[in-house]
Symmetry: D2
């Protein structure tokens, strides 16, 4: 398929590479052009401007936040003005429910189609084509994009015709992850102060009721105090937290756990270090327990990545 791909960050680079591997004809665009080179080396076409990435059947965006997506879509020579009739914009970014609804309406009015397909997984999963893809949008458009989802993920999950429902799944999923982090932080502060070894405790948990990847990954980070370099930096955590709280506000659904975690993120940011992993809220739980925590610097990036699997 002829596909445009906009946004070559940690996640997007891996996703675009997997589309190429799957045999699609991919035109890439990135605001910082240097990041395009590795993909060009793998066979991608380079787009000089956004419009050049909008000449195929589908254009995929994988961008940092609402503002980046809005700029890319509604800018003068943006997707909205460049995409052909009946062509599909697939948004994989973690954006707000409100923007997703706005994109749905705008593309429909322009005779274009909009599919929301946010993804779950860290950069390593993106590189390995092992993301989980939550999809919602017009059935025909979703069906057309299926081979693309198969290229980037190991599973596609459908949530109906209203694109923003996939965003709600993504945001609530990240909310659930943040709660796992906070709960592990509190439990591990408790048992550590009681005299238990955190790794031993974690082995027990993840061998029994909590044998899910999310407990293993974040429990390991907390026990190892490996909050740097960040796999998912705390400003991103706060952003997603803000989006789920906004979705809750719009729907009139209180989320007391999200409120509690919001305050943790702010306290973490108040220290002045924005480069730490969002799981470093565990340092706050430890500090509240009177235990000073010294975040370890990773000896080598490679070892960190493997620790996080």
């Amino acid at each position: 398929m002829k596909v445009g791909f906009i946004g070559l960050g940690n996640m997007g680079s891996g996703m675009a590479a997997n589309l190429l591997k799957a045999g699609h004809e991919v035109t890439v665009y990135n605001r910082t052009p240097a990041k395009m080179q590795p993909l060009i080396d793998q066979g991608a076409h380079a787009a000089d401007k956004i419009a050049d990435a909008c000449r195929g059947d589908v254009v995929i965006t994988m961008l940092a936040d609402d503002a980046a997506v809005e700029g890319t879509v509604f800018g003068d020579s943006g997707i909205f003005n460049s995409l052909g009739s009946n062509a599909i914009h697939v948004s994989c970014s973690t954006i707000s429910v409100a923007l997703s609804d706005r994109l749905t309406a705008a593309h429909a009015e322009a005779g274009q189609r909009f599919v929301s397909a946010p993804v779950f997984g860290r950069p390593e999963a993106a590189a390995a084509g092992k993301l989980a893809v939550a999809v919602a949008g017009p059935p025909q458009a979703v069906k057309t994009c299926e081979p693309l989802f198969q290229a980037i993920g190991q599973g596609t999950f459908h949530f109906g015709e209203k694109p923003s429902l996939a965003n709600l799944v993504k945001l609530s999923g990240n909310f659930l992850i943040s709660v796992v982090i906070e709960s592990l932080a509190e439990a591990m502060a408790l048992v550590a102060k009681g005299g238990l070894d955190q790794h031993q405790y974690l082995d027990f948990l993840t061998s029994t009721l909590f044998n899910a990847p999310v407990y293993k990954t974040y429990g390991g980070i907390i026990a190892d105090k490996k909050f740097r370099p960040a796999g998912f930096a705390v400003p991103l955590g706060l952003k997603d937290n803000r989006l789920v709280l906004s979705a809750g506000e719009a729907l009139r659904v209180p989320l007391p756990l999200a409120s509690l975690i919001r305050d943790r993120f702010l306290a973490l940011l108040a220290r002045g270090d924005e480069s730490v992993d969002w799981s470093a809220i565990a340092e706050l739980a430890a500090a509240d327990a009177g235990q000073s925590v010294q975040s370890k610097e990773a000896a080598a990036p490679g070892s960190v990545a493997s620790t996080r699997r």
Copy 2:
């Protein structure tokens, strides 16, 4: 091994039966004698009084709470006064860290040994010999009891020589489960109000990052609104919550998530129905979202059990 077993409730009956199956010579005691008959039918000896269950190498207690254990141990003809020198008291009940420490000291002073071995799992797991057993105590005593743990569980996890550390593991584990319930309750209220099907949402979660038994079990109960009959009634949930908060207080460790969930349990109990499952705090999250929830009565007990697996 010659073993006494005190406390034949939903959990204890299954555990004692598995000890018999494994070939141990078991003398059972229960305050309400009628509950002893099924075990006697399976080959157990009946104890007329607590002391009669204390004549072997080991006596196991599986009782409801601190008060029940205190009464059984420190009563006039209780375990403390009946157990032989060097014999072992294994406490499988979910009791406080403080009582565990008190039992440790008392038994040591009397020349007896104390092992703490709280278990994880619902009654079905107890019946199937598939509990997870968290053990701490004097190494020789723990080693002696190993065959008993193998008979009742599918895995034994060791937490050192201080018995109360196993209780801390148990209490913090139940705390983590309660957080899973509350987080699912909030997330599922959000997506449901947004228009998603809760089962579809849950299938996604438990196929990806959250594929752990605890998410499947409680997500299913919430989606099905099967809060009755209770697998673990809300007063028990509140009791365990109180114990983990007490442990945190003694150790000077704040547990804000436990505090939040405590208030949920109280609000649930304030309705006047103590027979509901602790996961019915999901009804509060739904009510706060303006969604009235009608708890379903189970059509048949059998179908409920299977739902909960």
Copy 3:
């Protein structure tokens, strides 16, 4: 002084009337023209459009929210384009810190001056000229406006040269009020369930440590269950809560009490009734205590007003 006054709601009408009484030449503007008539009857000039209210030394805005102020200031024939050089825009509305900063910069660039002067008090206080005025802005401009503040308030409090600091005072003040409401709600639910009369309890509190107007006003509303008609409707409460949380987020200051109260407002709104007073979060505290609350309809508006003093 020659003054324009924009925004004749419950608060603005009283404020404009007091400016007239103090002898100022007031030109009023309101989007819904009918509300101008009572002021015209009291001697005000009528403005056909915003620009007509901007021909004096000072223009005051008293509008519902950020959006209303933005529209009034930055619209095509808005204040920004109409106000003379060196003339003063006084914003009395409860707006965000961010908008206040933006107005400061915009007016400065246009050679105009901006003073922030949010007010504390309910509509009756506005009518009686008994508001408390929190002021910040360029000293000369503030001095020029002093007679206006004296006309609308019984006290002017200065917070320096940076206008948005007055907004921070206003927002944090409303936050403190919301906490008083929630704390009274919880305490009064507790003592009522224990068997005490809420009025008797309140009399004690407000005769001793808590003899402040805010405890008397809101304690009385809660004890009387007079949540309708609203003196300050819950959507306004949620808006101000959102603004203080935003200010906290921008400054990296967690406000856990504000987070908790946010969830109360959302749960209240989830019921579907937006016309209730923000103090009706007391109904949620009562409901969580298992006490059904029946909000009383006021027999006559007059009696309600007096209750609230």
Copy 4:
């Protein structure tokens, strides 16, 4: 009147002195006898043992906590065994609702009478005879004690015949104070980080809506960072918080604000300093805002006391 007075701490010493000044015949008892001397110098009789303080019409207890009261009442030669028929035990201590109920039943059974009369005020108020007294108990007994309440307080407030209701008033009152502290802590952290002077801010608050003693006292302590020496040490704050949470638990009333503040007290205690004032939770709010707080040592005790009025 012939009165026994047991418990001559910071509060009790002042109260007993005021009873003497009012002309009552007072026999004092204190576990540490040295503290009796100043009262003896003022005309009190000394009791060698508790029983000696129980020979009059009334015995008053002003002790630290439940355990101290239980020991004093139910010990072998305690109040219960020493007090004459129809004589009155007045408990001024801040004790649990449960213990108050237990004392009510025990004294009634023994033909004695029990009045609960917890007091509000700091040690200076006790010395000045300006406490607020919350009273509940059998009407005749309360009437008999009226002159005593007038001697120690500036106002007596009646809460009916059930003694424990006065304890509920006391505990909920302390809860309300703790919320004032936390709310000021958060608001003052916010405005300080925004650039405002905390004293200026506080002057505004306490000149307008919040002109109550509790805001002045604690706002001043926070702005001055005078958390040492403690007027009311954090372990006492935690104790009272525990008692109000217990009362809430027994009555099935969630108190989310009390839960939040509990976690603050624990985090404060986790630092290892138990001698700080309970209002030092403001240091936690400041720390969460990224502002390091240096608690000032008082230059002279006298100046601290005056700061706190």
